[in-house]
Amino acid sequence: MLKRLIIAACASAWTLTAVFAADLNIGLSADVTTFDPHFVAAQPNLTAQKHVFDTLVYVDERGRPIPGLATWKTTDSVTWEFTLRRGVKFHDGSELTTDDVLFSLDRTLNIKGSPGGYATYVRPIIAKEIVDRYTIRLKTAAPYGGVAQDLSEVQIVQKRAAQNATGEDFDSGRAAIGTGPYKLVRFARGSRIELARNDDYWRGRLPWEKVTLHILPSDPVRTAALLSGQLDAIEHVPTADLARLRKDPSLRLEQAVSWRTIFLHLDQYREHPPGVSGKDGKALERNPFKDARVRRALSKAINRRAIAERVMEGLALPAANVVSPSVFGHDPAVKPEPYDPKGARQLLAEAGYPDGFRVSIATPNNRYINDEQVAQTVAQMFSRIGIETRVDAMPLSAYFGRARKRDFGIALLGWGSLAADLALRSLAGTTNPEKGYGTWNWSGYSNPELDALIERSLATVDPRKRETIARQASALAAREMAFLPLHYQIVTWAMKKNLSYAARTDEFTFAHHFKPR
């Protein structure tokens, strides 16, 4: 009898632990290169690091900034005051203070050998003043509304642990002391990241005691690892496996419209853009893309719905704006250009190209979801209105360099941003190194009216007023076809039936946002 009781007790204890002391195994789609949170601004690194480190500002599922380690207010147009939550503890038990915040902000500027990390987010801040243990005042040189958004990317490290730390110290975990929901147990580069729950996490206790992030860049393998039961969840479900996973009764999917917009840059500033010629191979008299009617014709020729439904297997939404629907500054009044090949031909004829011409679309083939196939499809759609189109696909390593040298007449690019005005500054602002405008403006598009709107929007500190102006800028860029938006990507997570995930527009995969059902 007693024996039976013991067995029963053991059995129930076992089931209890199986329910509550659960482990979570997640498959990530890209390699994490370092655990130094300020070295390189790459999303896969941030995904892993944000389990260990917190930021002053959090971003909600829709991509909007919300209070994180701190709340903030603007006292005048150039002063941002951040007030820390009291009693937030680092993993070693010490309390978070503004000393750590100041150190972390400065570290992004001083870090050695970094290929361009987080300095961009801190550079606009010209003065940092510690008011007390919990209050820090940040001043910008000129009014700048993006401070909160920017600081959602800057992770706060512990001054004491990180002060003289090298990259190896972060990788080994010695300097990787944060306030985040998990403590770093082991960073096995290229293989996995083992995390243990931080029981003192300021947002409360989390369901997962042990979390392992597995690095599985190969798409079929990530899916197989989920199907085999090795993993509880995966990010970035490949389009090819979507149908199969959806049918599987033991799994469920969570989806969100991603912040990533895919679009085409059309060279609008040179007389003879590369790859553009007459059908006889001879150079055209002038650059056809300078004519708004031609840009409109190209836009009308693209069947965005077909791309979203067929090429992307439903993992996309036809786009009109520079940023996706839930992101700051999206103008819902701007609708995607309807598919109208007949109207497109007509516009081409009006513009003086009744027989069309020849172009070439450049695209990376390993960056965005089905990027090369999308370009191929657009090429066929262009050909249908008489514009003979070739596709020039290459790996990202070669692509960005050539694009920056302006080697392409039409180039495909994807952009994820938390604000339309910030995105437009890089993509459509008149190229101006002094102001930092137009860094990715491969179109060479230039419109003083748009520049003024972007400038006004970025200089507006009140978020509601700023968004109104940002929307106007979005609408103007869309109306003028500074570039041709194709679609917003949809991002998919797959997980075991008994889990749920609040799908995020910024594509991040966080163990602490998985919940048992």
Binding site: T34, V40, G190, H214, A224, S397, G401
Partner: protein
């Protein structure tokens, strides 16, 4: 013997120098890694700052000179993406690749030679034909496909083996090894078999052909006529004589097994050097690319040296010093 080894090492230094120069210029020609790694929101000044911080604004010859100066003192530079020395990144991954390559070679040798012998001794039996047919499959199926199939069958359908990753490791003399734990063995089984497949097929065919030839030789026939028992004939007369080409192939193949490990490592998410190289190329992480290739060349030189030394052990007629003179 010693002078032979020394001469080899000097030759390999020359190879290392030329190769580093080629790779350096090649990666430079592809583009600027800052274009790929920079924070998208960065402005032009920030891009220029990052380029200068990595020394990429200098003329190519200056960059190469700086690299050489570092390399002579054993510093192959720091990775652009990992904030760690390139050499450290590679050495951290090397045990995983070597472990995989050695296990694969072991599987190929342990299975391949007996199977080849069998097929050579009984070429017309059903089993003999089956072995040869199987070896053709080993040659012709793409290893990527076989890898995915292995995962689908043994992990997804049967659930016997974990689909990806490396198992638990133990530290032996500062090196992380996974083949010494049960979990590690379960993880390495599929990738090692996948990697071994080609070499396995090669060894089967090679052993079979050698066995067939040796069996027809006078010394074998004489031994059998003399009444030497078959196992001894096989061991002393057949096997020993066909072993020289096999050792050559195993040696040369070991190099290509390491090189081909890239594919297997990618499929099974095995954290080896090959995967590191692929990742580094895709972001133009030049210090790691150059360091990786330097180390692989060194490895090849070393393997060839060992193969040459193995000859002398197997065939006393081979004299190293004489050959190199």
């Amino acid at each position: 013997m010693l002078s032979f080894i020394l001469r080899r090492l000097v030759q390999s230094l020359l190879v290392l120098f030329v190769m580093s120069l080629l790779v350096f210029a090649g990666v430079y020609a592809i583009g600027n890694p800052v274009d790929i790694l920079i924070n998208p929101q960065a402005d032009q000044a920030e891009i220029a700052r990052a380029t200068a911080a990595l020394g990429l604004d200098l003329p190519l010859w200056r960059q190469y000179w700086n690299f050489l100066a570092g390399a002579v003192s054993g510093d192959l530079g720091r990775s652009f993406v990992s904030n760690a020395p390139a050499l450290h990144l590679i050495l951290e991954r090397m045990p995983a690749t070597l472990e995989l390559a050695l296990t694969a070679t072991l599987i190929a040798v342990v299975l391949g030679i007996p199977l080849g012998l069998w097929a050579g001794l009984r070429p017309d039996t059903a089993v003999g034909r089956l072995i040869m047919g199987g070896s053709i499959i080993g040659f012709s199926l793409p290893s990527f496909w076989v890898g995915v199939m292995l995962i689908m069958v043994f992990s997804v359908e049967l659930g016997w083996l974990p689909p990806t990753g490396r198992g638990e490791t133990v530290t032996v003399m500062g090196i992380q090894l996974s083949i010494l734990t049960w979990d590690g063995l379960r993880h390495i089984a599929m990738p090692a078999f996948n990697l071994a497949l080609f070499e396995l097929a090669l060894l089967i065919r090679l052993t079979r052909a050698g066995t067939r030839e040796a069996l027809g030789q006078d010394y074998v026939r004489f031994a059998r006529a003399k009444g030497v028992p078959m196992p001894r004939v096989l061991r002393v007369h057949v096997l020993k004589n066909i072993l020289i080409p096999i050792v050559t192939v195993v040696g040369v193949e070991f190099g290509s097994v390491i090189a081909f490990a890239v594919v297997t490592e990618t499929i099974f998410a095995w954290p080896g050097m090959g995967k590191l190289l692929i990742d580094s190329i895709s972001v133009l992480d030049r210090p790691v690319i150059v360091a990786y290739l330097l180390i692989v060349v060194l490895l090849f030189v070393l393997i060839n040296l060992i193969v040459d030394l193995a000859y002398t052990a197997l065939d006393p007629r081979v004299r190293l010093a004489g050959r190199s003179a």
